[in-house]
């Protein structure tokens, strides 16, 4: 928690519950599973279906990259919201 200099309202970082970390976590986990499947479990029969393209491996690597980018973005610019929701100023 840190005071906000302009309004005096308390502000708090969202931290690991930031949606970007959630995205990075899930897509990253998928990336790990797919990459491992692509390296160790790509049978010739499976590869023949896609004319030789090892889609598990390439999609897995792509997902790892996307996950890393989201984690980096969330670290670089953390999301800060008011600790208490604004009073009913909308009404």
């Amino acid at each position: 928690m840190q005071p906000d200099s302009t309004t005096g309202r308390r502000k708090v970082k969202i931290g690991v519950f930031d949606i970007r970390f959630v995205i990075a976590g899930l897509i990253g986990l998928y990336g790990i599973i797919l990459t491992l499947l692509g390296i160790f479990r790509a049978t010739d029969e499976e590869l023949a279906r896609g004319d030789g393209l090892n889609i598990n491996l390439w999609a897995g690597i792509g997902m790892l990259v996307v996950a890393a980018l989201f984690a980096a973005w969330a670290r670089w610019k953390p999301l800060i919201v008011p600790a208490t929701p604004p009073a009913d100023d909308a009404d």
Binding site: I27, L37, D88
Partner: protein, 564 residues
């Protein structure tokens, strides 16, 4: 009540695929539990405390629309009609989304209303409000039933569970996370869904393009010929033989009445933008959403087109030699079955389940807001403490989910859900859009004109549907030779024109509302400052709604030219 398990074809999921799907559901339910801890008032529950950044609401805006009908229907259209299906995105969605962000959103957000019916109440009084809130609530329950039915059908095809088990399980999961976390959880899950859907469809598109020999392979092999590669004039899609009339049909029918009606007045969409943290964010949400929306057809329509080339059953169906077991709706599932290895198959299943849940959850959360604020608080129990409406909202969520299981039963009776859905949009959205536009720009429009216009617009659409060949199934008489998409387009057009005419005539003979009651609700009576963000001049170019909309417009024109 429901059909027995359909065993036409199955996908061979293994332990890795199930693990991937299970991981997704663990995260979705986890978000619901976490979001629940942060709820402190009813405003928070329904509009996420208006604290979400624009890129989150923008993606939720797209994701709420990226449901079962979108993915199955558009890939099916791609398989059947080819590139003409692009119109549903570049003509039928993006321009209306930009219009919503630039013109309509300042009114919604600036007036502080919590729902579209509430805007109707402040502009036209209780008559129009009650008509709109009731018809909206009914429409949401019917559409939630369609989404739930499609979701259960897919679960059944993928995993072989009986349809009724699939229905109940799907309903239970959607219910759990919307009830636990409200819109906060729904929006966050929709953002997550967006990425899982892309993670599913993008590799599928890549491997399909690899298989067919790149875009050139599609151009060379698509049947019946090169007209499937051109989006204009789209005579196959509209069913109108004359190319000029077909273009007029696409631009005015799809591009104006149906699409503006859907995107600008459909609370399921607008609610997502209203959860933003400032008026600029609210305006940016649909505009930022327009960018991914432009490129979604590449991972939805192109796989459909390729499925009709590389999947033997689909090729037979298109050549007219199929044995009737598969339909165009199966395009993307058959492509997954033929091309994807275990692992990627699990991601694709998770992505499809995610997208089918998105549509249903969006219907349920919009229903619950309109029910508790616009019907219960307005007409049943006024002036109760905040907690009362929160409880009502939770009960409404449960009730809506149970009713959706019933309306899924109704939906299962229809052989063509896409036509049914477009017909419903014509009934509900086209007259609403006409009343909105007129009410926003014409300060004299009277309260009576508001509700009489809405009712007569809807009646006009129902009459056209009854006179068509098949828009209302066996109820249609066939007096007009219109069918399929053509019928729902003419019904929507009739609703729009009749609504405008009746509203003008009624306004001539009734009393207009006092101008002081309309400040912030009618364009000419709204001070310019209340329509703009006070911090607007501090925004960078990439945060300015109008500049972003300009870039989006140029891009969509380029796409139309490239794929003409």
């Amino acid at each position: 009540m429901l059909l027995a398990a359909d065993e036409t074809f199955r996908l061979d999921a293994d332990v890795f695929d199930y693990t991937i799907v299970a991981l997704y559901f663990v995260v979705v339910l986890g978000i619901g539990v976490l979001a629940r801890r942060q709820i402190s008032s009813s405003l928070d529950f329904f509009l996420s405390g208006r604290s979400l950044p624009a890129w989150v609401t923008g993606l939720a805006f797209i994701s709420a629309n990226l449901g079962a009908v979108e993915i199955m229907g558009m890939s099916a259209n791609g398989a059947q009609f080819g590139a003409a299906t692009f119109h549903y995105f570049w003509i039928g969605a993006v321009p209306a989304m930009l219009f919503l962000g630039i013109v309509m959103m300042p009114f919604y957000y600036g007036s502080g209303v919590r729902s579209v019916p509430e805007f109707m109440r402040r502009r036209f009084g209780t008559g129009a409000h009650l008509v709109n809130a009731l018809s909206f609530a009914v429409a949401q329950l019917l559409i939630a039933g369609i989404n739930l039915f499609l979701l259960a059908t897919i679960v059944n095809r993928l995993l072989g569970w009986p349809l009724w088990v699939s229905l109940v399980v799907a309903a239970a999961i959607v219910l759990t996370y919307t009830a636990l976390g409200g819109l906060s959880a729904a929006i966050y899950n929709e953002v997550l869904q967006f990425f899982v859907i892309v993670a599913a469809l993008l590799p599928l598109t890549i491997i399909a393009l690899h298989k067919v020999g790149g875009w050139q392979g599609v151009v060379d092999k698509v049947s019946p010929g090169p007209e499937q590669i051109s989006s204009w004039p789209g005579t196959d899609l509209t069913g109108i033989d004359n190319p000029v009339l077909s273009v007029i049909g696409i631009v005015f029918g799809l591009g104006f009445v149906l699409s503006f009606g859907y995107w600008t007045t459909n609370f399921v969409e607008v609610q997502r933008a209203m959860a933003s943290d400032s008026i600029s964010s609210a305006r940016r949400a649909p505009i930022l959403g327009a960018f991914p929306k432009m490129f979604i057809p590449f991972i939805v329509i192109i796989p459909g087109m390729i499925a009709a080339i590389v999947v033997p059953e689909m090729a037979d169906l298109k050549a007219g030699t199929g044995d009737g077991d598969v339909t165009y709706n199966d395009a993307i599932l058959l492509l997954m079955r033929d091309l994807l290895p275990n692992g990627m198959l699990g991601i694709a299943i998770a992505g499809l389940l995610a997208s089918f849940m998105a549509g249903m959850a969006a219907n349920i959360s919009a229903f619950n807001t309109v029910f508790s604020y616009d019907l219960w608080q307005q007409y049943v129990k006024k002036d109760q403490p905040d907690g009362h409406y929160l409880t009502v909202g939770r009960i409404a969520t449960v009730a809506a989910t149970l009713i959706a299981i019933g309306t899924a039963g109704i939906a299962s009776q229809y052989s063509n859900l896409m036509d049914y859905l477009q017909t419903l949009f014509g009934f509900f959205n086209a007259p609403l859009f006409a009343t909105f536009i007129l009410g926003m720009f014409w300060k004299r429009m009277s309260a009576a004109a508001g509700w009489i216009g809405l009712v007569s617009g809807t009646l006009a659409a129902v009459v056209v549907a009854l006179l068509s060949e098949d828009a209302l199934g066996s109820l249609s008489t066939g007096a007009l030779s219109l069918s399929g998409q053509g019928a729902s387009f003419v019904a929507a057009g009739a609703a729009f024109v009749v609504d405008i005419l009746v509203s003008v005539v009624v306004t001539m003979v009734t009393k207009s509302r006092a101008e002081k009651d309309l400040v912030g609700l009618v364009y000419s009576l709204t001070p310019k400052e209340s329509l703009v963000d006070p911090n607007a001049k501090d925004l960078a170019w990439y945060q300015s709604p109008t500049k972003l909309a300009g870039i989006a417009l140029v891009l969509v024109i380029i796409l139309n030219v490239v794929f003409r």
